[in-house]
């Protein structure tokens, strides 16, 4: 009986810890994504670095322009 209770207690402990980690991960994820959102970081990154990099690549392409 005592052993069973211990297992139950341990399971509860694990569940509590898992829940704690899940909440922490959720809060962390929210903090990161909300910061990216609020400070418009993804658009700044795309506009300043990714888009110009792609344009450079597109401008160097040889296209098949036969008509």
């Amino acid at each position: 009986m005592k052993k069973n209770r211990c297992i139950a207690c341990r399971a509860l402990g694990w569940a509590a810890r898992a829940l704690g980690w899940a909440i922490l991960a959720g809060v962390g994820l929210f903090a990161v994504t909300f910061t990216v959102y609020m400070f418009n970081l993804e658009n700044k990154l795309i506009y300043r670095y990714i888009y110009p990099f792609l344009q450079k690549h597109y401008n160097s392409q040889k296209r098949d322009r036969r008509i």
């Binding site: 994504t33 959102y37 609020m38 400070f39 418009n40 658009n43 888009y51 792609l54 322009r65 008509i67």
Partner: protein
């Protein structure tokens, strides 16, 4: 009042000085204050109060997930698509595009706007993934031979009778939608076309399509191609270039242009029947009328809801406004055309919110609207957020756009012959076909529409390269004066932002509002600014 509401109210009060609408009202800034000069890149996103900012954030996440799903569904081919196609790179501007469309939106109008926008995003991302995953340029896929490339101005609903085939409006992804997102993409394709001797005074949309063709930037899909006679000489020319480049067996579906005459409908009906026979032959499949009726029922429900929306548009209490209405109707009608259940479900949710808002006598934009305008003529594709700007700057609510009045007749869902006749009428009233080249009566119907929707103002888009509409300029000016409408001609070059810039378009409106009507702007920061380097 609940404790959370009290708390939110207290936070909103504390942070109101960051709200650009509050700043504009108090003369300490406005909607343009948070941008880096020229670029259209915002330093930070719009603070709309706790609830609306959080809602906007969740929708941003939601759209991000749709894009993640798109890449995850075909990672290698999506990345190859980004590497191969210049137009794919421009889709990276989508988040900035959505932000600028819904500036100043709050409450119900923000909710509906995002619901409509997400419908488009989830549909478009699936379509991009589908096309790239089956593009022969990247080795093809299991559905390559089941796809039917067709001209995007031919409404694809009649293709629903081929339940195992997938109609793909060919120009939508590489040319049309992407111009909404990035104003700098089409000038490249226009230059490609003009470098081959195409005159610079044709419709820039047709020139851009020709440029995509010559640049070999259409995905390669399908076994046969449905082209159409839409809707002017430049368009017919680009259809010919596209047919040569696509190099598949093709059927031109030449619908009647002047279709108000009763004799036109049997001709258009026969054209659709010919197209069906062509697809049956080329793809070796049989047309299934029940499959058509199923999708026609969806389209009928969407159109029934649309007509109810129009009743709300006639009042000051419509929570669906401006670009949230225009862009959604254009995409859901011209591109989806009854083929995706998501849009019917979305329409049901939107109309429920509209009914609620109407019962509450909710006025969008905090009741700051001063004028109700009907927007007529094909809009500048490179300035999709024009309706948002004109509301935020001058309090002009664009109640309805010409494109939204496209085919809204019901399709018979029991008799094949009657269904084809209804579909012919439906297709004749397609994008631009009905208004731009469908005859003078359809252009002149503007005044009836404007009266019906309680508008005191008419904005007339003037595509400077549209030969069909050039002749009506003075006639419309005269009629506006006779009928007592405030009337503004807004010149633009459809897909070429170099000829008439966004700033030029704004200046035209601002000059009229300040000099003719003697009004003050709602937001000083929006009157004149440079966004020439923005997407």
């Amino acid at each position: 009042m609940k404790l959370t509401d009290k708390l939110i109210k207290a936070v909103d009060k504390k942070l109101e000085r960051f709200d650009p609408l509050w700043q504009a009202e108090h003369g300490v800034g406005g909607l343009r204050s948070r941008y880096y000069d020229k670029t259209g890149v915002a330093k930070y996103r719009e603070w709309r109060g706790v609830k609306d900012t959080f809602y906007d954030y969740t929708q941003w996440l939601y759209n991000l997930m749709s894009m993640g799903q798109m890449v995850a569904s075909a990672p290698v081919k999506c990345l190859r698509g980004f590497w191969e196609y210049r137009w794919m790179g421009s889709y990276l501007g989508t988040f900035m595009f959505i932000d600028r469309l819904f500036e100043g939106y709050r409450g119900y109008e923000l909710r509906i706007a995002h619901m409509n926008m997400h419908a488009i995003v989830q549909s478009l991302t699936k379509k991009i993934a589908l096309v790239l995953a089956n593009d022969r340029r990247f080795g093809g896929g299991p559905l390559t031979d089941r796809m039917v490339p067709m001209d995007e101005v031919l409404p694809p609903l009649f293709m629903a009778g081929f339940k195992d085939l997938i109609p793909i409006p060919l120009q939508t992804l590489p040319e049309f939608i992407i111009c909404d997102i990035d104003q700098h993409i089409e000038p490249y394709y226009i230059d490609v076309a003009e470098s081959y001797g195409l005159p610079a005074d044709v419709c820039s949309r047709c020139a851009a399509e020709t440029g995509v063709t010559i640049d070999d930037a259409f995905p390669i899909i399908g076994k046969a191609f449905l082209s159409t006679n839409m809707p002017c000489n430049a368009s017919e020319s680009t259809s010919m270039f596209q047919r040569r480049r696509v190099n598949l067996p093709y059927q031109p579906v030449t619908m009647a242009m002047i279709h108000n005459e009763p004799g036109a409908h049997p001709y258009s009906t026969q054209e659709l029947k010919n197209a069906i026979a062509f697809i049956e032959k080329e793809y070796g499949v049989k047309y299934d009328w029940n499959a058509l009726f199923e999708r026609a029922k969806q389209m009928n429900e969407q159109n029934t809801i649309e007509l109810e929306k129009w009743d709300f548009f006639k009042t000051p209490y419509s929570a669906l406004v401006g670009i949230a209405e225009t862009l959604y109707r254009l995409y859901s009608w011209a591109s989806v055309n009854g083929q995706e259940d998501y849009f019917t479900k979305n329409d049901r949710k939107v109309i429920a919110i509209m009914r609620k808002a109407y019962e509450e006598k909710y006025k969008p934009f905090s009741g700051k609207t001063r004028h109700r305008a009907f927007l007529w003529g094909p809009s500048a594709v490179y300035y999709t957020d024009f309706p948002t700007w004109i509301q935020n700057c001058w309090g002009i609510n664009i109640v309805l756009n010409m494109d939204s009045t496209m085919g809204h007749n019901m399709i018979d869902t029991s008799d094949p012959e009657k269904a084809m006749e209804d579909l012919a009428l439906f297709s004749e009233k397609g994008v631009m076909r009905h208004h731009a080249v469908g005859g003078w009566d359809n252009v002149n119907a503007l005044w009836d529409w404007a009266k019906k929707f309680q508008c005191d103002m008419v904005l007339f888009n003037d595509n400077v390269a549209c030969k069909g509409m050039n002749g009506v300029h003075a006639l419309m000016e005269e009629q506006a004066r006779d009928l007592g409408f405030s009337f503004i001609f807004v010149e633009h070059d459809l897909e070429d932002c170099r000829t008439v810039s966004r700033r030029d378009m704004r200046r035209r409106v601002s000059d009229y509002m300040s000099m003719v009507l003697g009004e003050e702007p709602l937001d000083e920061t929006l009157v004149d600014f440079d966004d020439s380097q923005a997407w």
